[in-house]
């Protein structure tokens, strides 16, 4: 297996130009969804089968004018499939269409997927979408075809500010640590790394430097970053207990014995109520 590769997205220097979105669509031949006007600079909306990169705009627009030094940051984040070490989508996929590649990225085999869509409900980041034309689910491949040819993903190649950096995961983690140290030293106490370590899904192949809490960016925090299988045992146990009670109830209701049976079998006719 090759050394794990990844993407480090530093949101502190994202300018919201969406070059990553365009480059992703061009390389992966994604036609995109029909344009929509929203009450936002975000005209992509969400990650889905056509948008494997999505620049989120967290627009803190105050109701009243802010005083100097008391404003809100207008946050931007180029979102993508996180290529989780412990991936929820891969865990639930019944066809084994979702696999880990030799680069430790998560990949959906289009010729194996049968479009059951279980992975969509499992992905905690909403990174997977269903394509009606192909009848299968799609998401970022981290440009698997480019990786196999020693090229960097299209989004990282196109990013003009180097907000998106590609490389060996271990190298990116060192860069991220250094960048976080700089930001903290510059007086940004809210700055934090998301998915840098194994606290979230065993570590993310595409991890982030955030300028606020993960929830602000629509990312589950450490407590909410949980795998679907957490519910397996307790759900089956609930069903098992119900089943045992139901079988016992059936035995009580159906067993023929004593006077009850004699009365009911003896008349053979319908009884009346009262």
């Amino acid at each position: 297996m090759a050394e794990p590769l990844g993407l480090f997205t530093d949101t502190s220097i994202c300018i919201g130009c969406k070059a990553c979105e365009v480059a992703c669509k061009e390389w992966n031949q994604l036609p995109g969804n029909p344009p929509q006007f929203r009450d936002s600079f975000d005209n992509t909306g969400q990650l889905d089968a056509q948008n494997w990169r999505h620049v989120k705009f967290i627009e803190h627009v105050p109701d009243t004018p802010m005083t100097a030094g008391n404003g809100h940051a207008w946050l931007m984040m180029s979102d993508i499939c996180k290529h989780c070490t412990h991936a929820s989508c891969l865990e639930v996929c019944p066809t084994q269409a979702i696999i880990k590649t030799e680069f430790n990225t998560v990949f959906i085999q289009q010729d194996v997927c049968n479009g059951c869509r279980d992975c969509i409900g499992a992905c905690p980041y909403g990174a997977i979408g269903f394509n009606q034309d192909t009848g299968t689910v799609h998401k970022c491949t981290m440009c698997y075809d480019r990786l196999q040819n020693n090229m960097e993903p299209a989004c990282a190649k196109a990013c003009p500010t180097q907000s998106i950096q590609f490389g060996k995961l271990a190298d990116l983690q060192k860069k991220a640590d250094a960048r976080l140290g700089t930001l903290k030293a510059q007086g940004n106490p809210e700055a934090q790394l998301y998915g840098r370590d194994d606290a979230v899904y065993g570590g993310l192949g595409a991890f982030f430097l955030l300028m606020d809490k993960p929830e602000v960016y629509g990312l589950p925090n450490k407590e909410n970053a949980v795998l679907p299988r957490r519910n397996n045992a307790r759900s089956y146990f609930g069903a098992l207990v119900t089943g045992v009670i139901a079988v016992f109830a059936g035995m009580v209701a159906f067993r023929r014995n004593g006077s009850d049976s004699a009365v009911e079998d003896g008349d053979g006719s319908r009884t009346t109520n009262g």
């Binding site: 969400q46 929820s88 865990e91 639930v92 019944p94 066809t95 084994q96 696999i99 194996v112 997927c113 049968n114 479009g115 059951c116 869509r117 969509i120 409900g121 499992a122 992905c123 905690p124 980041y125 909403g126 979408g129 394509n131 192909t134 009848g135 299968t136 629509g218 990312l219 589950p220 925090n221 909410n224 949980v226 299988r229 519910n231 397996n232 307790r234 759900s235 089956y236 609930g238 069903a239 207990v241 119900t242 089943g243 009670i245 139901a246 079988v247 109830a249 059936g250 035995m251 009580v252 209701a253 159906f254 023929r256 049976s261 079998d265 006719s269 319908r270 009884t271 009346t272 109520n273």
Partner: protein, 292 residues
């Protein structure tokens, strides 16, 4: 409080239909086995009807599941790993859909044998072997009727993943609906009065179990902070209808000896319809509210 940023899998009417039909099929098979084991000679015609109902509905289950797929012709990928160079059977015990696929396949085979036996075509299954088949088939039938709830819970969807009660809730409601359905069949047979009474008594117990599980379901959602989502908009009306559908079986339970008379409170096709509608609506509210 649970926070969710997930997208909807867009599971719609086919999946709802599957959850409903799987429940009635599994419930009917289980009740038929119970009648065969613990009932008397007079109960056997209705037990046979239970087996005759279970298999055709299992076939419908397979059809609904297949046509819901984005690539229906690849339905067999659920059972066979089609990854080039890695061919073999596909079985993931930790994935409820994978487990359920195999369970449904085996259950369909066993319910087919019971179907033929109920038609009198397989004499060798009328003895101990047939009873063994019924026991194994019932274990799978109970699984089929309940695992659909587990499928929902083993996700990151709001509501579905915030509770452990769905497997049990789906099972209790499936058994209640199946008991009402078989009681309706019994209603048309003059020699099955006592069988009908037993089925109504069982239905009452299952409805009580379902009511307890609905309370637990709401309680777990309240703790997770997603109860509002489940009761928002039209869903509260659906839940009121679901609770109303529990009234007839609970009244039967309250009477002790359920009435089956034409002059008293009559068990009719409409009573069975009300209970079955409740089974359907409960699944509808749970499937669609979380995705709205």
């Amino acid at each position: 409080m649970a926070e969710h940023f997930v997208q909807s899998p867009a599971w719609g009417w086919y999946i709802l239909g599957y959850f409903f039909v799987a429940g009635v099929s599994g419930g009917s098979y289980t009740l038929a086995t119970m009648l065969r084991f613990w009932g008397g000679e007079r109960d056997q015609p209705i037990a046979r009807i239970g087996f005759l109902v279970a298999f055709p509905l299992a076939v419908v289950c397979g059809i609904l599941l297949t046509i819901d797929l984005g690539q229906p012709l690849r339905f067999w990928h659920m059972m066979v790993n089609a990854t080039p160079g890695n061919y073999g059977l596909s079985f993931k015990y930790w994935s409820p859909i994978s487990l359920g696929t195999w369970a449904l396949l085996i259950y369909s085979g066993l319910s087919f044998l019971s179907f033929l036996e109920a038609l009198g075509l397989l004499a060798f299954l009328s003895g101990a072997l047939g009873r063994l088949l019924n026991v194994i088939g019932s274990v799978l039938a109970l699984f089929i009727a309940s695992y659909t709830g587990v499928v929902l819970s083993v996700s990151n969807q709001p509501v579905w993943s915030d509770t452990w009660t769905l497997g049990g809730l789906f099972l209790a409601s499936a058994l209640s609906g199946s008991a009402a359905l078989l009681a309706w069949f019994a209603h048309s047979r003059p020699d099955a009065t006592s069988t009908q009474r037993r089925l109504l008594r069982a239905d009452g117990i299952f409805a009580l179990l379902e009511l307890v599980l609905i309370v637990l379901f709401f309680g777990t959602l309240a703790a997770a902070g997603t109860l509002k989502l489940e009761l928002a908009g039209p869903w509260i009306i659906i839940w009121i209808l679901v609770l109303a559908s529990l009234v007839p079986p609970l009244m039967d339970l309250g009477h002790g000896r359920p009435a089956v008379s034409a002059r008293g409170r009559t068990f009719t096709a409409s009573t069975a319809f009300i209970v079955l509608a409740g089974v359907f609506l409960m699944r509808l509210a749970i499937i669609f509210s979380a995705q709205s």
